[in-house]
């Protein structure tokens, strides 16, 4: 077979070689079938396996031919040349065959490749299609789940249960025939029923509202009626008052007071109760009353306590913000201060009457946020008093009650907790507000039963009745003696300003009948002026002159000698005697520090004050002291040795009878007056 095929092919190959293939192709397509020799078509027709067999055979044939040629050549050339040629030709043919086979193989390869490519493209297209379809499936699935998850609004509405629905709903709504079988229709019917029911309830609600309105109106009318009743009752009460008075039955008044007393804060209540109790039991001239707006006080107690707590909380918060922005929030801080210093709308007044119908009015206030009590004082006199200029401070509310108990100036708050409250709102001390608020003396707190221990501040200070009771009697007595001594001083000052030292008949024995030195001036001076005097240094250093005391300047004259006396009047006069500091202007300035006799004169009034107290209760102490100053000035001047270097008679001839002129190492003059002999001796 191979031989056959090789034979057939042979001419073709030759032919192809002989004629140019291009020429053949260029001849047009029309005769392609005839003329065109296409190896490509040949490829289809030929079996590749047979081609492979042919190739092998050809190769073997070639090998054999080569070997024969070599053998022939090796034998010698001449003889075998023809044979060799022949064989050469044969091998050429074989080569042609090989070439042909090679081409075919190439074409086949190309064809194979093309086919593979085509198939691959097809597969790709299919793959793409598959993916599209998968995506679509997924999308549809999502849509389906969405639909499945949808919830209708009606499911939230609570419906009556099925049984109830069929029992209660009218058949035209429930339509049991349809609904029992169809759940959808059933649900719709139930919803209808629900709507129906709700409509009915809404109507009922409207009806109720109108009836409520009606009832309210009725109440209003009844209230109006009641309030119109009150003034009528009041007028009846008013009309009954004269009857009560006529019958000496002040039930109504007392009842009223106790009624208002219920609205007093605890400390004022304690004060009220204790003061009126003391007044009833021991002191008929003590009158206690309540003043102020009761309505406001009532309003204070309406809000429950926790709301107050809230307030204080917000206080604290606001406080923080104000601290940050203090300069811009001055007004707000001011309001805070006012709020902190607010007093209770009710106050208790206590009127203390003295024998001569002079009255001391005390008004007690309670500062709610500070938990301290304050007092304001006022004096009304029975007779119009001649106003002495120097007596201005004596009865002023600011100083009248100063140091009722030693050291109680009433300028600082007695409650130690207050300082922290002040720090919050920027109050330095309470003393700046004292004139407005009244003085928070310690005794006032005690009367109100408030006790603030200094060393251990308690959390809550409560009003204590026993404390108030234990201080009431002493305080009332002190108040009364304070008023009396001030009034007595007031009277004395009026005559002192006119240069008259009033000496009562009981005290005449303390002084000789003739005293030449005269008081010419009596004026009040401020503390600063007093402190500036050079001869008051010792008194200030000894702590006997504080700025809360009262200060006066007296001028006593005799001839060319002028004696200045600076006087410290302790508020506790006359139990605490006044202190005099002297300065004599006569032949130079003589004071206690450079003249022992001036010092002795000072101690004559300052230390030996007991004999000058006079009759009880010692209100003449000051005038007696002044009179004694005049007396000892006389002694001083008259016993001064005559200066021989100056001509003329002595300015002050000795008129006083003295046992000895000089005594002791201090060379003191005889300042002590002896009654009734009327001579002067040394103390």
């Amino acid at each position: 077979m191979s031989s056959e095929s090789s034979k057939k092919r042979k001419p073709k190959v030759i032919r192809t070689d002989g004629a140019a293939p291009e020429g053949k192709r260029g001849k047009g397509d029309g005769d392609q079938d005839l003329r065109y020799y296409s190896e490509e078509c040949e490829v289809d027709l030929r079996d590749p396996i047979k081609d492979y067999e042919l190739y092998r055979e050809t190769c073997q044939e070639l090998q054999r031919l080569m070997a024969e040629i070599q053998e022939l050549k090796s034998r010698g050339i001449k003889d075998n040349a023809a044979e060799i040629d022949e064989r050469r030709v044969q091998s050429c043919v074989h080569f042609m065959t090989l070439k042909k086979l090679n081409r075919l193989a190439h074409i086949r390869l190309k064809k194979g490749r093309d086919q593979t490519h085509e198939a691959k493209q097809k597969v790709d297209a299919y793959h793409l299609q598959l993916q599209n379809l998968l995506y679509e499936v997924m999308h549809l699935q999502k849509e389906i789940t969405k639909c499945l998850e949808f919830k209708s609004k009606h499911e939230e509405i609570e419906l009556v249960s099925l049984e109830e629905f069929y029992q209660e709903a009218p058949p035209e709504i429930s339509r049991p025939a349809i609904t029992l079988s169809e759940p959808h229709q059933q649900t719709l019917a139930r919803l209808d029923w629900e709507l129906e029911q709700r409509k009915r309830l809404a109507e009922k609600y409207k009806e109720c509202l109108t009836s409520k309105e009606k009832i309210l109106k009725e109440i209003e009318v009844k209230k109006e009626y009641l309030s119109s009743l009150q003034p009528r009752l009041n007028s009846i009460m008013q009309a009954s008052l004269p009857v009560q008075e006529y019958l000496f039955m002040p039930f109504d008044q007392a009842h009223k007071q106790y009624e208002t007393a219920r609205h007093l804060p605890p400390p004022l209540y304690v004060l009220f109760v204790q003061a009126s109790a003391y007044g009833q039991a021991c002191d008929k001239k003590l009158v206690v009353a309540i003043e102020g707006n009761v309505e406001e006080a009532k309003a204070l107690y309406k809000p429950p306590e926790d709301s107050q707590d809230d307030e204080s909380d917000s206080d604290a918060e606001e406080e923080q913000t104000t601290k940050r922005r203090r300069p811009t929030l001055g007004v707000q801080l001011d309001d805070k201060r006012k709020e902190m210093l607010k007093r209770h709308p009710l106050s208790v007044t206590v009127d203390l009457k003295c024998k001569d119908d002079n009255v001391l009015h005390l008004t007690f206030y309670y500062l709610m946020n500070l938990n301290v009590m304050t007092v304001k004082a006022k004096v009304t006199t029975a007779v119009e008093m001649t106003t002495a200029i120097s007596a201005g401070d004596l009865l002023s509310p600011d100083s009248l009650l100063n140091c009722l108990y030693p050291g109680d100036h009433g300028r600082k708050t007695p409650n130690p907790a207050n300082q922290f409250q002040f720090d919050k709102v920027g109050i330095l001390t309470l003393s700046d507000y004292v004139t407005e608020l009244g003085h928070p003396y310690v005794w006032v707190q005690k009367l109100g039963g408030l006790h603030f221990p200094k060393d251990q501040p308690q959390h809550t200070v409560t009003a204590d009745n026993t404390l108030s009771a234990s201080h009431m009697e002493l305080t009332v007595k002190l108040l009364r003696s304070r008023l009396q001594s001030r009034l007595a001083l007031h009277k004395q000052f009026a005559s002192l300003e006119h240069g008259v030292v009033p000496v009562s008949s009981e005290c005449q024995h303390l002084f000789p009948t003739k005293i030449v030195s005269r008081l010419v001036k009596w004026t009040a001076i401020p503390y600063e002026d007093y402190a500036e005097l050079p001869y008051t240094k010792d008194v200030i250093e000894a702590g006997l002159a504080e700025d809360t005391h009262l200060y006066y300047m007296a001028l006593i004259e005799r001839g060319t000698a002028k004696l200045q006396a600076a006087v410290v009047l302790n508020p506790g006069y006359s139990t605490l005697p006044p202190i005099f500091s002297l300065c004599l202007n006569w032949k130079g300035e003589r004071t206690g520090s450079n003249d022992d006799n001036i010092r002795a004169m000072e101690s004559e009034v300052n230390v030996n004050y007991k004999e000058l107290w006079g009759p009880k209760p010692g209100h003449q102490l000051l005038t007696n002291q002044l009179q004694r100053l005049c007396m000892v000035l006389d002694v001083y001047l008259e016993t001064e040795p005559h200066d021989t270097s100056v001509e003329g008679p002595k300015e002050f001839p000795q008129e006083k009878m003295c046992l000895r002129l000089v005594r002791g190492p201090l060379r003191l003059k005889p300042f002590k007056f002896n009654y009734p002999q009327g001579f002067f001796s040394h103390r």
Partner: protein, 346 residues
Amino acid sequence: MAAPIRAGPEAAPPPLPVPGGVKRSRQLLHMSVLSLSASPCGRYLAAGNNYGEIAVFSLSAALSAEAKEESKRPIGVFQAHPGPVYSLASSERLLLSAGDGEVKGWAWNELGKKGTRELWTRRPPCRTSLEVPEINSLQLNPRDNCVVLAGGDGAVRVLDMESGSFTHELRGHRDLVHCLALRDLPPHVLSGGEDGTVRLWDLRSGTQVQVIEVHKYEECSRPNHGKWIRCLATDSDWMVCGGGPALTLWHLRSVTPTTVFPLPPRQHHALFHQDLVLAGGPGPALHQLQLSGELRGRVPCTPPALRCLCLSPRPPEHQVLTVAGNSPKIDVFTNLGYRAFSLCFT
């Protein structure tokens, strides 16, 4: 506090922040310490004031290293005389105090205890009952065991300590006698008085030896301040005296004022100390003067006017100077240059 109070001065006044009450605070304000005397051992100091009180201070406690405020307060105060305590003197065993017309002897070892009473009281004879003359100065004479008294009636009296009787009454001063001083050789007592004279007395014979009328010497006379002699001190032939006249150093044998010290008049107390004269008077300062008349130092003190100076021995071989005057405070000097601290009446 709760006790009711009766109206009036006799009622108990409310308690004062001042200890001792109102009266005491006033007394302290006007207190003058007129006399000082240290115990012979130097550990205690007695001070008498114008209210007749004697306060005993423990100098050793106040000077010790661990002295507190309390140790500068008196360990005891007692009322010695009704009037002022004009003068104090110490013997080995006794403290003598002089008041109005009486001399009292106190045992040093019992002073400061509560309820101390005087060992004895002697009253010099006086002529009238109306006016009891004060005793302005005491001068102990250990050699004869007697004490010399400067009387307010112008008499200098000698009290024999053994018998307790007045042995001599030396009259000569025309007014009260202010001060006394003792001279060893010849054994004379000097007295200075209001009449402006310094008189020398022989104690054994009881006669007046010499009279120096200080105010008649122009160098030291200050007529506008008076002629009274308030302070007197001696050291062998030298004498310092002053008062109304200026403080002057005198040579006794020749009776001449040798140095007039440049001090203001009215000096109250002068002392010889080593080669210096210490002087105190008006003005809150202690003056240290050299015998030549130079002012060596002026040390500020607490009292506004000085009344008395007191030198006391302080073992070992130190001396303490105490100074008092118109103040309840008594200044203590361990060194002449500055005030160490102050003792104080309470």
